[in-house]
């Protein structure tokens, strides 16, 4: 595919991620912070988010699998995940975490398990979409083009 087409795909794809609520303005902040001195800043921070989230989701699964669930611990993990998803602009993950915390407060096991499932779904979705976005970027660069700046 030639550069122009790749760039158009990139712009359209990015716009759809914002339109569908997967990403919010905070992601744009990350993109704006990327510069010549830190050309891979977005990928770097998002990778940190992926690592952090994988661990937190494992911790959450384990914590909710206990005989006597420590809801404070569960809440602490969700709080962390809510924070990091918010920091990178992963809006749907963040919103799923907000709902999750309400049920932690109520100590509602069934609802918490449903929320965990929801958070995992949203996380896997945004992860896959961001990976697609980064692949598109890489293709543009390999084809010798520049990444279009989004408005």
């Amino acid at each position: 595919m030639e550069v122009g087409q790749l760039q158009k795909s990139f712009v359209d794809y990015t716009a759809s991620l914002f339109r569908e609520g997967f990403l919010d303005g905070q992601f744009s902040q990350l993109q704006q912070l990327q510069d010549e001195s830190n050309p891979d800043f977005v990928v770097e921070v998002v990778s940190l988010f992926f690592e952090d989230s994988d661990k937190l989701l494992n911790d959450l699964t384990r914590a909710l699998d206990q005989q006597n669930i420590d809801f404070k611990k569960v809440d602490a993990h969700v709080h962390q995940l809510k924070g990091s998803s918010s920091s990178i602009g992963a809006q749907r993950v963040k919103n799923a975490c907000v709902a999750f915390r309400n049920f932690c407060e109520e100590q509602n096991v069934e609802a918490c398990l449903r929320c965990l499932h929801q958070v995992k779904q949203e996380y896997l979705l945004v992860k896959s979409k961001l990976e697609t976005l980064f692949t598109l970027e890489q293709q543009i660069i390999t084809a010798g083009g520049a990444i279009p700046m989004m408005e």
């Binding site: 905070q26 912070l33 921070v45 940190l48």
Partner: protein, 155 residues
């Protein structure tokens, strides 16, 4: 663990200590600050922050990193909260003049009140963006260059 961004010895840039237990947030605040021409040292918890400030257990003041012009700390941290760190800084005659900004993902009025009463310069909501960091620069300039004086147009 604390890390510093590289800079020349006779660095005129304001030096900010950023404290947060989240690795994602530490990286983000570091980049926001370096993009605003600040030198940054990050710390992952209150205890480590105290060590950077020379208030760690059994430390002598001159073991610490070069002068800090602003402290930005997350409120919710395991072990020592940002509020507790703020208190320790304000209790120190050597450090109490350093402006401390508390950041939090949660907008809790009682929390904000207690931090401001304890002497926090400001309480900001996460996630921070470039314009938030721009606002913080006026606190930094006042401290490191008192003679140059800068008109700080308030919040």
């Amino acid at each position: 663990m604390a890390s510093s961004s590289r800079g020349r010895e006779s660095d005129e840039r304001p030096h900010v200590l950023a404290v947060d237990d989240s690795l994602v947030d530490r990286r983000l605040i570091e980049k926001l600050l370096t993009s605003s021409a600040c030198k940054v040292t990050t710390a992952e918890n209150g205890q480590r922050a105290l060590e950077v400030l020379g208030l760690g257990d059994g430390q002598h003041a001159n073991n610490c990193v070069s002068e800090i012009n602003l402290i930005i700390t997350d409120y919710c941290m395991p072990g020592m909260t940002g509020y507790e760190l703020l208190k320790k800084v304000k209790e120190s005659s050597r450090l109490r003049e350093i402006p401390v900004v508390i950041v939090s993902s949660e907008n809790v009025p009682t929390r904000i009140k207690e931090c401001l009463e304890e002497g926090a310069q400001e309480f900001m909501l996460k996630p921070l963006n470039q314009s938030d960091v721009m606002k913080l620069r006026c606190y930094m300039m006042k401290l490191s260059h008192p003679s140059k004086g800068q008109l700080c147009i308030g919040r």
